[in-house]
C-alpha cells in the first residue's frame, strides 16, 4: 500500500511491549499503520486489510488514522495525540510540569530541568498530556511540532 504498511499481530505486540516497558501501558486501542520506516499511525476504523487494498485501487491513500508515535533507535516517542490516547494507561516516566513550564513547553522550548532520568518521558500538566520529551543530564528536549506551538507573547 503506497508506503503504508499495516502491522501484523506480532509487530503490533512488539510495539505494545516497548510502550509497556517505557510507560507502563498495556493496550494500543486500534490498528497500527507504519509509514516509512519510523512513523506509526493509529487507526480505529473498521476497515480490514482486504477493504483497504480495495480502497487503494480507487485512490491514493494519503493517511490512515493519525500520527501516533515515532520509532527512534529502539524506543518510541509518542506524539501529543499518542500521549492523550494512552493517558489512562500511562503509569511511569511521566514528568509533571507547572503552568509556566507547560507554557514554555508548548512554545517549543527545551526545558533546563534535571529530571534524574534519561530517555523519553511523557510531559503532563494537570489533566493535559503534552506529548513526549527527551530527558538528558541537564534538560528535556522538545518535539512539539511547529504548527502546534504556542506563540511567543511578543510575536505578531
Amino acid at each position: 500500500m503506497n508506503n503504508i504498511k499495516i502491522l501484523d499481530t506480532e509487530e503490533h505486540a512488539e510495539i505494545e511491549n516497548k510502550l509497556h516497558k517505557q510507560f507502563g501501558t498495556d493496550i494500543i486501542p486500534g490498528i497500527l499503520v507504519m509509514r516509512g520506516s519510523e512513523r506509526l499511525f493509529l487507526f480505529t476504523g473498521n476497515f480490514d486489510e482486504k477493504e483497504i487494498n480495495k480502497l487503494e485501487k480507487c485512490a491514493f491513500i494519503e493517511r490512515m488514522g493519525i500520527y501516533f508515535a515515532k520509532i527512534v533507535d529502539d524506543s518510541l516517542r509518542l506524539s501529543i495525540e499518542g500521549s492523550q490516547i494512552l493517558k489512562e494507561q500511562i503509569k511511569k516516566n511521566i514528568f509533571e510540569l507547572d503552568e509556566k513550564q507547560a507554557e514554555e513547553w508548548m512554545k517549543g522550548h527545551e526545558l533546563p530541568i534535571k529530571t534524574g532520568s534519561h530517555g523519553f518521558i511523557i510531559m503532563k500538566h494537570e489533566g493535559d498530556f503534552l506529548g513526549t520529551g527527551k530527558a538528558s543530564n541537564e534538560k528535556i528536549g522538545n518535539f512539539i511540532p511547529k504548527n502546534r506551538r504556542l506563540r511567543e507573547r511578543n510575536s505578531s
Binding site: 476504523g45 473498521n46 480502497l55 480507487c58 485512490a59 493519525i66
Partner: protein, 321 residues
C-alpha cells in the same frame, strides 16, 4: 474586522439577491457589515463540553451555548484579538475547532452514527470531517477525500489535532473517486457532499468572494456540483442518506443541482425533511425561468440575517431503493 465593508458588491449579484430576498434585502445588506460571531465546536473526542466551558471561562472568555441539544457549540461573546481563538492552548491541544455555526449544520442534518461507513467527498480543511468523527465516536470508518494535495495536508493536520483516528484520507477527483468506488463495490451509509461553491454565503468573513464573484463561475460550478452529487448517489446504499451542502445562495448551485439529481434518480431517491436548531427557509421551487421539484421545499436556505451566521444551503437526500 471593521463595521464597514472594504469591498463593493457587484450589481448583478445585488440584483439576484434582491430577487431572492425581496423586501428583506436591507436587513441582508445590514448584517453583511457586522463581524461574524466567534464560534467554536468542542471536540468531544478529547474533552467534554462542561470541562472545556469551565477552562475557557477561567481564561475570562464569556461563552454561551446557543443550542440545548448541542452543548458542544459555543459562542464567545467577548472581543478577542485577531487569531486568538486559534492560538490558545486548548485549540493547540485539539479541545475545540474554530467553526462557523452554519458550517456545523450539514453534520446536524447527516447524523452520522457509530460504526457507519461515511464518505466526505470534498473534505478539506476538515471542520465537518472532524465533526463526523466526533459523532461516530471514532468508530466505523470515514473516507475523507480531497482533490488538492495542499488542502489534504491541512485536512491531515486538523484530523491529527482533533484525534480523528477513524479517518482514511484519499486524494482524487471526487467524481472519478465515486466511479472507482462503485467499480470496487463500496456502498456508504452516509455521504457528505459539501461541494465547492461560489461562496456567496461567506461574504461576512471573506471579501475575496465579492471580488471574485461572477455568473460564469456559478454556471461551471453548477455542472461540477451536479457531477459530484449524482456520482455520490451511485455509491449510497439503499436507505442511505446524503447531505448536499454549499455556502452559497445561488439557486443554480443549490436547488438546481438537487433537482437534477432527483431527475437522474427518479423514484430511487427523495428529499428528506431536516430539523435544525436555527431558522431556515424552504428551498425554492422556481428561479428565473426554471421550475424545480416540489420536494425542494424540504431543503434549507440559511440566510445570514436570520441567525447572525454565514449563509448556507443544505438538502438531505435518501435512497429509497
Amino acid at each position: 474586522m471593521g463595521s464597514k465593508r472594504d469591498y463593493e458588491l457587484k450589481p448583478l449579484f445585488l440584483e439576484r439577491m434582491q430577487k431572492l430576498l425581496g423586501k428583506e434585502m436591507p436587513a441582508y445588506l445590514e448584517i453583511l457589515k457586522k463581524p461574524i460571531q466567534n464560534s467554536i465546536r468542542c471536540n468531544t473526542l478529547k474533552i467534554s463540553p462542561e470541562e472545556l466551558l469551565s477552562r475557557l471561562r477561567n481564561k475570562g472568555w464569556e461563552i454561551i451555548q446557543p443550542f440545548k441539544n448541542h452543548p458542544e457549540v459555543m459562542i464567545i461573546k467577548n472581543d478577542l484579538a485577531p487569531g486568538e481563538l486559534g492560538r490558545s492552548m486548548e485549540h493547540l491541544l485539539g479541545y475545540y475547532y474554530v467553526q462557523e455555526i452554519a458550517s456545523m449544520l450539514p453534520i446536524f442534518a447527516l447524523k452520522p452514527k457509530p460504526r457507519e461507513l461515511v464518505l466526505d467527498l470534498a473534505a478539506a480543511p476538515g471542520s465537518k470531517t472532524s465533526q463526523i468523527a466526533a459523532e461516530m465516536k471514532n468508530t466505523g470508518t470515514i473516507i475523507a477525500n480531497d482533490v488538492s494535495i495542499g488542502r489534504l495536508k491541512i485536512l491531515a493536520s486538523n484530523m491529527e489535532r482533533c484525534g480523528a483516528t477513524n479517518s482514511i484520507l484519499t486524494k482524487k477527483d471526487g467524481i472519478a473517486l465515486c466511479k472507482r468506488l462503485k467499480q470496487e463495490g463500496f456502498l456508504f451509509d452516509k455521504i457528505l457532499v459539501d461541494a465547492p461553491c461560489s461562496g456567496e454565503g461567506t461574504l461576512r468573513s471573506s471579501s475575496a468572494t465579492a471580488r471574485m464573484w461572477n455568473p460564469k463561475t456559478i454556471k461551471s460550478l453548477s455542472r461540477l456540483q451536479k457531477g459530484l452529487l449524482t456520482s455520490a448517489l451511485e455509491i449510497l446504499r439503499p436507505e442511505g442518506e446524503i447531505v448536499y451542502s454549499t455556502c452559497t445562495h445561488a439557486p443554480e448551485e443549490n436547488e438546481e443541482v438537487v433537482d437534477f439529481a432527483l431527475n437522474e434518480f427518479k423514484g430511487i431517491v427523495k428529499v428528506e425533511e431536516i430539523k435544525l436548531p436555527i431558522k431556515c427557509r424552504p428551498g425554492l421551487t422556481t428561479w428565473l425561468d426554471n421550475q424545480y421539484s416540489k420536494q425542494l421545499k424540504l431543503s434549507c436556505r440559511i440566510y445570514p440575517q436570520d441567525n447572525d451566521t454565514e449563509g448556507f444551503f443544505l438538502a438531505k437526500i435518501k435512497k429509497i431503493k
